[in-house]
Amino acid sequence: MTDNTNKHPEEQQLMAGDPETTGHSWDGIKEFNNPLPRWWLWTFYATIAWGLVYTVLYPAWPLVNGATPGILGFSTRANVAEDIQRFDDMNADVRTRIAEVELAAITPDENPDLYNYAIQGGAATFATWCSQCHGSGAAGVQASGYPNLLDDDWLWGGTIDEIHYTISHGIRNEDDLDARYSEMTAFEGILSDEEIASVVQYVRNISGQEANATLAAAGETVFLDNCAACHMDDGTGDRFMGAPNLTDAIWLYGGSEEAIEETVRHARFGVMPPWSADASEAGRLSEAEVRSVAVYVHSLGGGE
């Protein structure tokens, strides 16, 4: 490649000074020798050494069961466990106090630190243990009879103490003798089809929904004879027995004719487990956790 005449003028000019090349030639293409700095090479070796040392000190090489542990004993899991323990220790005092003070005193004004912890911790506990039935937004599932905890209608009472009792002991369960308990009669066979049809229309009527006036008038007697004992004469229910208010706009299982008839014929039997580990062996939550959830639920907009 000594003939330069057919080359680009710039290359001719460059090659005229006989520049140093690496000596490599690929189809006449040569490479200028622009050596990299030596410190760059040493830096490269240093990174390799660093990598080797790192794999010895820290968990690195994958094996069949896990990886090489590294001689420093570093473990992200152990770090997490340590962090959790650290936060538990930090919160120990708050938890003790939450479990001891008057429930009604856990408010933003009286105990802002306890209230803040209860709201945040209660929300987390609710998401873990309660949201499966009551929903992540606490709105319940009407089709399954899981109550909405956001509204202002409470079957067993919506004060902080009543909510705390319900969470602690649960509803209609076998695990806790103090569980809230009541049972509605299934009226199929007790009432005739006509009586059931008329009482359904009566209930539709007193809750302000569209109803057949003739049937509803006939249903009043049926209601007073059979239902008023628990749901009261005016249909407003009785929280002592967990009997729902039938005159408001809120329906645990739905307010359509079909849903009400299903309730009258076969009754309902909603169950909630006891959560307090103090109250029952089946309970899974500490008193501080139960109280936190109670404060959280009470704060959702319907608390009394």
């Binding site: 000596g23 700095p37 509204d151 706009a249 809120i250």
Partner: protein, 474 residues
């Protein structure tokens, strides 16, 4: 390549550079920029600025823990981060503009690497002497004198490096407090680590790596080539005037270059500008000063090495008049950069002056979309974040405007529709909006309405539009 030939060396040791002291207009400009930029860097954290009680009195403070950026009378909150993003874009466009107009002027005058290296050169010259003395010292044996000079130099460098790393952390905490903590061993681990790392980089980059950082480590010089063209003003050698170079009195067949190597001796990156433009050149213009000095001594006009554009070089060579500097600088791409830069700058300034001292964001709680209450009314829930950026605690009133639709507002845990928000903070307030049973918003799927928040102390108001979800009975 024959087999007996010795293999090429693919790696080379750094060629040490011993720049000679130089005097001249560009050197003076560099001194000025060095003093101003280093002065700003070291002194800024110590400027005090009274913001009233409970707020830091440091003029420039990046308060990461409390998520605030204080800059004199300006206070930036995290939701206003676009100011920082805008400033970064302006800085980028500014670099584009200067590079396309004046080449690597950033590299030559104001890059921290250049400025600190320049400072380190000054220290080196002060302790070890000028170029020739340093060259001799470099080749000398490691006797007592060499150790003494080297250790003195390194100690001063280290002092500057510690001050550099130290100044950095002062931007992130109250400087006087942190200084005492640093000296008494009470500062946070991360503060010491930051000081340590920046001390090491300053010491190594300024003292030993120097031009290697620019040539091998920095990506910016490689990117700059894309912004330069034949009209970019850069440092070049007028070879049509200088060549053929040569020493001696008989100059009939020689150009103006007397081959004195002054330009080479002063170069901080160790190149010969007479070889043409090279990637190592940071256009610090010290060779211009050096050559002008020589030209004055031999009685020739200045500017054998000078700032010029590529088009000028061709014109001058052909004996044509060259374009004026302004014609080089004002061309389409610099005008576009300037327009973009100014547009963002004007936009940010306007935003800065029209931004309110209070702010709100509304996050509708859509799980569930609405709640039916026992009287049949429909309730929606909103998480309203009120930001009180004033330096007074104040009471805020929350109201809704919904074109006459009967929406009622209640605040969780508050009496009435007012909520106190502490000084310089964000307050999360859960707000219930209820539409009475059978009212239009309760029956329709969506009703748009507006949340108003008013600072009852200053009567400043702001609003956010959101939507009310009804039962949708249709």
């Amino acid at each position: 390549m024959s087999a007996t030939e010795e293999p090429q060396k693919l790696y080379a040791a750094r060629e040490p550079v011993f720049p000679k002291r130089v005097y001249g207009r560009f050197r003076n400009l560099k001194w000025l920029i060095l003093i101003v930029t280093l002065g700003i860097y070291y002194i800024t954290p110590w400027i005090r600025w009274d913001r009233g009680p409970e707020l830091p009195d440091q003029a420039v403070l990046l308060d990461l823990a409390n998520r605030r950026f204080f800059f004199f009378w300006i206070e930036i909150w995290p939701h206003e981060f676009y100011f920082v993003a805008g400033l970064l874009i302006m800085a980028g466009l500014g670099l584009f503009l200067f590079t396309s107009a004046l080449g690597r002027v950033w590299c030559g005058y104001s890059c921290p690497q250049t400025v600190w290296t320049d400072l380190f050169f000054t220290v080196e010259r002060w302790i070890e002497g000028d170029r020739n003395a340093r060259l001799r010292l470099w080749n000398a044996k490691w006797d007592f004198r060499k150790w003494r000079l080297r250790l003195t130099k390194w100690a001063v460098w280290l002092l500057i490096a510690v001050a550099t790393g130290g100044a950095w952390v002062f931007y992130f905490a109250d400087a006087p407090t942190l200084l005492v903590q640093l000296l008494t061993g009470q500062a946070a681990y991360v503060a010491y680590a930051t000081v340590g790392i920046l001390t090491a980089t300053t010491f190594v980059f300024g003292g030993f790596m120097r031009e290697q950082v620019c040539i091998y480590m920095c990506p910016w010089p490689r990117i700059q080539a894309a912004m330069m063209d034949e009209d970019t003003i850069t440092v070049a050698y007028r070879d049509w005037r200088g060549e053929p170079r040569g020493k001696g009195k008989a100059r009939e067949n020689l150009g103006d270059c007397i081959d004195c190597n002054a330009c080479v001796n002063v170069c901080p990156v160790g190149i010969d500008i007479r070889d043409g433009q090279q990637l190592e050149c940071i256009t610090c213009a010290l060779c211009i000063d050096a050559c002008d000095d020589i030209m004055a001594k031999v009685g020739k006009p200045r500017g054998l090495i000078d700032y010029m554009a590529l088009t000028d070089e061709a014109n001058e060579r052909a004996g044509n008049p060259k374009k004026s500097v302004w014609k080089h600088i004002f061309r389409l791409r610099t005008i576009i950069y300037t327009v973009l830069w100014s547009a963002i700058g004007v936009g940010l300034t306007v935003m800065l002056f029209i931004r309110s001292d209070i702010d709100m964001t509304v996050a509708p709680v859509r799980n569930p979309q609405f709640v039916t209450l026992s009287d049949g009314s429909i309730r929606n829930t909103y998480d309203v974040r009120i930001r009180n950026m004033t330096h007074d605690e104040s009471t805020f009133q929350i109201t809704v405007a919904a074109d006459g639709a009967p929406l009622l507002v209640e605040l969780e845990g508050q009496d009435g529709n007012t909520v106190p928000v502490p000084i310089d903070s964000t307050y999360l307030q859960r707000v219930y909006v209820t539409a009475p049973a059978d009212s239009a918003p309760a029956r329709e799927e969506r009703t748009d309405f507006r949340f108003w928040v008013e600072d009852l102390g200053t009567n400043t108001r702001t609003y956010t539009d959101t939507t009310f979800f009804g039962r949708d009975l249709e």
